[in-house]
């Protein structure tokens, strides 16, 4: 049986109850991603995506609160290289972003415009990497 999911990679690394919180969150993240990326939708799959969005959102907020309360999560070496002052500062999982907020718009957008594969910028990125192969300059 083939499974595509990050859960086994993270399983058991953290102690309980954090492990369970993370496992549930990763499950919902993978489920949300798979549902949002479906190339054919029905009312049933859109309802699943709607419910999954709610559960994923509340698990993300729970993970943010739990990790902020119980772990001293400071910037990674890579992040503190960019701005040395952030190295010692405690970092919280930032959910006050447009990207996170927009997850609630997926069901409505799919109903209006169709499945996400038809207007994702992933397609444009593919074309860009093809066109980045050196060619003779346009006169």
């Amino acid at each position: 049986m083939n499974v595509q999911c990050a859960i086994p990679v993270f399983e058991g690394l953290l102690d309980e109850p954090y492990n369970t919180v993370l496992m549930q969150l990763l499950y919902r993240a993978a489920e949300w991603h798979a549902l949002a990326k479906l190339r054919v939708h029905t009312d049933a799959t859109l309802n699943s995506l709607d419910g999954c969005t709610t559960r994923f959102g509340s698990l993300m907020r729970r993970f943010r609160d739990v990790t902020f309360a119980d772990f001293n999560t400071v910037a990674l070496p890579k992040e503190s290289r960019k701005s040395p002052s952030s190295g010692r500062k405690k970092r919280r999982l930032n959910l006050n972003t447009y990207k996170f907020h927009s997850l609630g718009d997926y069901v409505r957008t799919i109903k209006l415009f169709g499945c996400t594969d038809s207007f994702s910028t992933q397609l444009v990125s593919c074309y860009l990497s093809i066109s980045s192969i050196p060619t003779s300059p346009v006169p």
Binding site: M1, P8, L14, F71, N72, K78, D105, T109, S120
Partner: protein
């Protein structure tokens, strides 16, 4: 409401942020040795990409080129160096075979 963009909003947005924060938590939980981050790197290193799996046998002799490169996770995935959107997607969708 703006039209959604799965790749920028989820794969290199929310999921990347979440992955980064999990690595921060692993560092915090195993400071100063960082054994949990090493364990994560080791586990990711043991997996292959779906694409690598499909092309491994047939194209093993062919050097990587163009779009259809044979890709593998690097040894230190927690550093997240030079990762593209499809790499983050693959971090979420690690390919594992259960017998």
């Amino acid at each position: 409401m703006l039209v959604v963009d799965l790749m920028h909003e989820f794969e290199i947005g929310v999921w990347k942020t979440l992955f980064t924060h999990v690595v921060r938590v692993l560092y915090a939980a195993s400071r100063p040795s960082g054994v949990l981050v090493d364990a994560l790197n080791e586990r990711y290193g043991g997996f292959t990409f779906p694409k690598a799996r499909l092309t491994q046998d047939r194209f093993r002799q062919v050097p990587t080129f163009g779009l259809d490169t044979i890709r593998r996770f690097r040894d230190n995935i927690s550093e997240m160096k030079k990762l593209a959107a499809h790499d983050y997607e693959d971090l979420l969708q690690v390919w594992q075979t259960f017998s």
